[in-house]
Point group: C2
Chain length 329, copies 2
């Protein structure tokens, strides 16, 4: 099988690629099965490459570029579409967000349609499709009310994937992802990036800033669970998903204060003292517009799982990133 | 004031233009007010022109064409965006639907944004944004689940208008229109066109076909009420609409059998005998996927009104179109 991951040099793209290479073989319900022969990672930025695996090809290019995408997508059996301009960046740079998030998705869908092979597609969407005056618990039937350009573009992507699927052009499924934490590396331009920073930086004995109030509630999912969900979404048969092609993923909700309490439990007061509380009205406004609690009944029935607690997520980060445990000395 | 109506040669566009010319002056809450100096009707097809009014300019061109739209939109204070490829046509001709309904709307929004004048925009959407497994009553908070390419493109239009408004590029408001009945003239390529045909043709002593079961329920609004709604939507201040820029319009629901009963009441058995019942599975499927009953609480609070009964709508059609009343002889 030939696989394309757009945004393949991002955090989730790389983790997903590593998992796929380990698996080596995929068994898809009602779809193609077999060994992974080729794995193309398309990304606008050359990241740390996955070294030395002859199955991997890294292509640096834009998802909105017709020739590049046509070249990498024409023989793909499976596509994970993760490339995106993230929330704060899409808000600050409207045209860039439209180019990548809207026209890039349209470009990919048109090229996949033109192959005539109805490839299977997992499209990354986001809880940012919700906003404004939300019910206390967001469900599978909560209406789309994005209050950011990123959320708008993601909502449009969901609608397009559903219609291209209904028309038989692709076999698409979209996942509405909660905030992913803890991301390794450096802060990105997502408004939610602080959720990772306020844990990751103190664990690395570095100072950090928390731009929102301690009582701000966030719905989270760990990188490990997101990769599980990406593979599960690809594995499910088209029939088991049915006519609604967007799946709201389960997350677990906690406040920033609760996250910091877990950090203190794991790494002590020396760690939490590295957080400086410095409110940013723009980020607070965006975070407040996102859903707090989620009832993802449909995803759970389809076998998607949330993390059980935040301490597990923090300890997984320490393990996955081999964080030196200075607080134990 | 300078006004642009896209789809200005269509049924609603023309009726709206006539009403505006009669009004001569518009008073907009929190917006520009004054005399109408210029009224540009942009349409892909040259229809019956509104003759002889020096304020009117008819421009034949595509809403997806950048140069044409830039020319007619650059000095517009108010824009009604009605141009669309209708439901069955957009389903049969996917690329054409995308070109006009999606790229055309994007083209218009980008050109209005580039003027830097934040023009006021009323965007025509449709109940076709709903579909599939719907609640028995559709409300202001029912989620977007289109099951047609037309409905998908209209849903995307709503999202774009909302985001361009939030960003301050336009002052937009979208109206979700019920099926409009009774349209004059000839059947169009909307799946709902039969709703007009089964009344209009018998009233003109012509045979017609009804492609759906008598118990099929439809939510309707008359042409007169739609024009009222178009003007009301433009008149409302941006603040009174608030952050949710799409307004679900009220309609009145009745079955095809009930419509035919009204026809019989007005024009007798000779009229209803002109209807041949010939089921069309595709049209039935589309009609079944649309909402039957609507609770448009928000629109009612904002002063939008539905018709009170179907007989009034039929009699208004006879009056507006000066239909010869052969059944009275």
């Amino acid at each position: 099988m030939k696989i394309l991951i757009t945004g393949g040099n991002g955090f989730i793209g790389k983790r997903l690629a590593e998992r796929l290479l380990e698996l080596d073989t995929l068994q898809l319900d009602g779809g193609p099965s077999g060994r992974i022969e080729k794995l193309v990672l398309l990304d606008a930025f050359p990241g740390d490459r996955i070294g030395g695996d002859r199955r991997v090809e890294v292509v640096v290019g834009e998802v909105s570029d017709r020739e590049t995408v046509a070249r990498v997508a024409q023989d793909a059996d499976l596509v994970w579409h993760l490339a995106a301009i993230v929330s704060s960046d899409a808000e600050a740079n409207f045209d860039l967000g439209m180019k990548v998030n809207l026209y890039g998705t349209l470009n990919l869908l048109e090229i996949l349609r033109a192959t005539g092979k109805r490839p299977r597609l997992v499209n990354a969407s986001s809880l940012a499709v919700f906003g404004g005056d939300l019910p206390s618990v967001v469900t599978d039937r909560t209406d789309l009310t994005p209050k950011s350009s990123y959320g708008t573009q993601k909502a449009i992507g969901e609608l397009l994937v559903a219609d291209y699927t209904r028309k038989g052009f692709v076999d698409g499924r979209s996942l509405r992802l909660p905030t992913i934490a803890i991301r390794p590396g450096k802060p990105n331009k997502a408004a939610s990036t602080f959720v990772s920073s306020i844990i990751r930086e103190p664990l690395a004995r570095q100072a950090t800033v928390c731009p929102v109030r301690p009582d701000s509630a966030m719905c989270l999912l760990s990188g490990r669970r997101v990769v599980d969900a990406m593979i599960r979404a690809m594995t499910l048969s088209s029939e088991s998903i049915g006519s609604e092609r967007t799946i709201l993923l389960p997350g677990f909700t906690l406040t920033v204060a609760e996250m910091v309490a877990v950090l203190e439990k794991v790494a002590g007061r020396e760690a939490t003292k590295l957080i400086r509380w410095q409110p940013d009205a723009n980020i607070q406004r965006l975070v407040d517009s996102w859903p707090g609690r989620i009832d993802a009944a449909r995803a759970k029935a389809l076998g998607f799982q949330a993390d059980s607690n935040f301490e597990e997520v923090v300890r997984a980060h320490i393990e996955d990133e081999a964080v030196p445990q200075w607080w134990r000395q």
